[in-house]
Amino acid sequence: MEDSRPTRRDVVKGSAAAGAVGLAGLAGCTQGGQNDGGGGDDGNGGGGDDDGNGGGGDDGGSTEYPSLGNFPVEGDTVTFGFNVPQSGSYSQEGEDELRGYDLAKQHLNNGGGWVDQWDDLSGDGVLGKTVESVNGDTATDPDTARQSASRMISRDDAIMITGGSSSGVAIAVQELCQEEKVQFQCCLTHSNDTTGSACVRYSFREMFNAYMTGQALAPVVRDAYGEDLNFYQLYADYTWGQTQQASMEQFFTDVAGWSQIDSVPTPLGTSDYSSYLSDVPDDADVLVLNHYGLDAANSLPQAIEAGLDERLEIIVPLYNRLMAQAASDSIEGIFGTADWNWKLDEEYTQSFVESFQEEYDQPPSYAARLAYTQTMQYAAAVERAGTFYPPEVIREMEDYEFDNAGLGGELMRGSDHQAFRDVLVVQGKAPGDRDSEFDLLNVVNQTPRDDLGYGPDEGPAAECELGEYGDE
């Protein structure tokens, strides 16, 4: 086990180098990393890392570590894979994530934004290598996402993949990344499973999860609506919706003292919820819509249209911009949680919003912040580690404490790779109170991280086994 056997892809990389000697044509090497080395390695077995790395010079000690995943990074560029939904239910988020990613790439290479504020980052690429990127379309479908990520890994030699926007996608991709020993930075994924039963060593999540939504939301809605209420849930029938409704049931029952009438699954991508909505029983006091993206953009307006808001309270556990805009006339007063808000009065938030607005003429959604921060955090960890060698980067991120991502103090817990951070409880704004079409939500409460979370053996973390670093 110590001297890890070369995996298929180690050998691929080695032989690609050998092939370059013969033919100067590398498989899918998009970043001009050709013609490195003098031709010494025979591309077979063992390390396979090219000691004669001509281009970038210091790629952070490739001589010290064996090759693993897409390490070592050859040439003077490094490729990140941005795997976002460009079509399907969550494509709106994907669009904004991509903006965040591109901005991060730009800042990493040229300075600006958080790069100027974070000590770890230089604005001269990462470890002196220029950051390049490749985009993929997950189509909000786990299999498509996996295939896309797999291409980024073998075709484009991406050293890190990031993306998500659907927990089903994030989980599917992070499993692949664990197998391939390529780091995955979760973007928008809120299911408990991502850092719970499906957690992996090679993936980190900065976003909060459904469990924390329950913890943050329950006391607020209890105070607002009272105790002894009956609630009824609809949920999107995949990992996020399933854990989301379970967490809502748990905390609304335990903390708010409410009782659940029923919880009904709806297929992801349903466009007409009228049949489900007309089923909501008369004795329900609260309707919980565990929908997101396109689903929520259909279900919430349809619920309002049906007049449900006149006879009961509606809660949308996880807010997003598309849904808020789609239902913009009717979200007034509806409670939910959000990852972050561009109106937060905080220095890192402000500098990010500023540079984002400068670039795209609109404020960022929280999906964009997640994309931006996940890329920055990976880059910073690489700089601290002084190498792209994945196990070292991972160890650098584990149990890392930081306060420079716009939400105050945060801890990336090493035992389950879940960030423990504040969660925002928000409420839709009345149309009259808005400054712009992007000013839709009121932050009711920034629930401090001390009031949230769970021990390493509790809640979702109880089921988490991270797996190997790859250098054991």
Partner: protein, 471 residues
């Protein structure tokens, strides 16, 4: 649908345009004869394919890599997983073509067999707890690739029987809709009620592919095992053997099965059975009058194609280690099989494989390319694919492979004639006229293909303003 099929491509009888033996006579000579008999020989088809399969990964990666370099690195190289993927889809479309190309039954539901095999192979290898309608079971965790393949293919074949039995009763669009309907029912089952088995929309990831025959892992490179491996002899590298370095055992496994599938299909096509399939596509009634049981033969073709799709599905899940209802069972997947088959060309056995290659190459490689003006192609790849597809259907009804074959035939004949003309200077002028005529005919055929759309459109427009009769 009873339209008099005056499509110029299909002359009565043979599927291949028989212009070779019309006038030019014995130009090929003994060499041509030998070449032709070699071509006829089934065995040689298999050997030829086998040789190609050995160099295929090399061509795909190094060849395309070189092209990529010469174009200034727009990102159109190849990569190692792609070769297996192309062959997996190749197996599926070879079978699909037996149905579409020979018996002319267009199925929009073959994802059902693909997906069923994928899920059953995956389940066999997993140790997951599954449940449905109150029953639950723990999966056995049999990870042998061969067992997975056999199990998946068997279940797909078993499923193809009843679905075929019901669908074959209808023809044309009703057959297409029926197959689509069964496929979609399975898709929604896997997504909803059956999610206790399939893990629903989360996708099924507990796929464990064990070692082959208890000896080699799928991911290991061939070079570690095969006696074939001859890395470096002094300073002399045998180019494609170097490629074995990055060829995983999985590819060898897939390639062998691909070869098997091709052999079987070739056998079928060249057997009396295959002739009947073909006859069914051309004129069902005639077959019936001869006293053959049309239904039985159609069903057989359907089941065989289902088995091939199942084989591909089992291999696919081993390749991806993950399966989701949308990839496994959604009708778009069935549509992709149709696109691949038609893209490559339904007229020959190997044509659809060509289509699978074009499809997968556009989907996996061209999608990452960067071109001027538009930038990275990304998710636009389906637009390119759609355009290529429509163009092919419109202009080359025999597919890309058919077009290539025509081109090759034309070139071969040109070269043969030239050689002959040099040898027989006295007769050359006369033969030259013949040759010219041949060229003319070739061009005319092609033009007719292109012009077909134009003429009938013009005819349509004329008739719209009241000139001329109906079409």
């Amino acid at each position: 649908m009873s339209r008099d099929g005056d499509t110029p491509v299909e002359t009565d009888g043979g599927t291949v345009v028989d212009d070779a033996d019309s006038g030019s006579g014995s130009i090929g000579g003994p060499i041509g004869e030998a070449y032709r008999s070699l071509r006829e020989n089934e065995f040689s088809v298999v050997i030829g394919s086998a040789l190609f399969l050995v160099v295929f990964p090399y061509l795909l990666i190094e060849g395309m890599g070189m092209l990529n370099e010469s174009l200034g690195d727009p990102g159109i190289g190849g990569y190692e997983g792609l070769a297996s993927l192309v062959l997996i889809y190749g197996i599926i479309v070879i079978g699909f073509n037996l149905l579409l190309g020979y018996t002319e039954l267009l199925s929009f539901g073959h994802a059902a067999f693909f997906g069923t095999a994928a899920y059953s192979a995956a389940l066999l290898s997993s140790t997951a707890e599954i449940s449905f309608a109150g029953f639950s079971a723990t999966m056995p965790g049999i990870t042998s690739p061969i067992a997975m393949l056999v199990f998946g293919t068997a279940l797909a074949t078993l499923l193809a029987w009843p679905i075929g039995f019901m669908s074959i009763r209808r023809s044309g669009v009703y057959f297409a809709v029926l197959t689509l309907t069964f496929g979609q029912m399975l898709y929604f089952f896997a997504l909803g009620p059956g999610s206790g088995i399939t893990n629903g929309d989360n996708g099924f990831s507990d796929v464990n592919v064990g070692s082959l025959l208890g000896m080699v892992d799928f991911g290991e490179p061939v070079s570690q095992f095969g006696a074939l491996y001859l890395p470096v002899i002094g300073n002399f590298e045998i180019p494609f053997l170097v490629s074995l370095d990055y060829v995983p055992i999985e590819y060898v496994f897939v390639a062998v099965l691909f070869l098997l599938a091709l052999t079987v299909a070739n056998r079928i096509v060249n057997s009396p059975y295959g002739l009947i399939f073909e006859a069914l596509g051309e004129n069902e009634q005639r077959v019936e009058f001869v006293g053959l049981n049309v239904f039985r033969y159609k069903l057989m073709a359907f089941i065989i194609s289902g088995a091939f799709a199942g084989m591909g599905g089992a291999l696919f899940v081993m390749h991806e280690s993950f399966i989701h209802p949308a990839t496994a069972l959604y009708w778009i997947q069935s549509g992709d099989f149709v696109i691949m088959t038609v893209l490559g060309g339904t007229g020959s056995l190997i044509g659809p494989v060509f289509g699978a290659f074009i499809f997968e190459y556009i989907a996996n490689v061209i999608s990452g390319a960067t071109i001027p003006v538009i930038g990275e192609i990304g998710s636009l790849w389906r637009l390119i694919l759609g355009a290529v597809f429509v163009f092919i259907v419109w202009v080359f009804p025999r597919g890309a492979y058919g077009a290539l074959v025509d081109l090759k035939k034309f070139l071969v004949r040109a070269v043969e004639s030239l050689v002959w003309a040099v040898r027989n200077p006295s007769e050359a002028p006369g033969a030259f006229t013949d040759w010219l005529r041949g060229v003319g005919r070739g061009i005319a055929t092609w033009l007719r293909g292109v012009g077909r759309g134009v003429t009938s459109r013009v005819r349509g427009m004329l008739s719209l303003v009241g000139v001329g009769g109906g079409s």
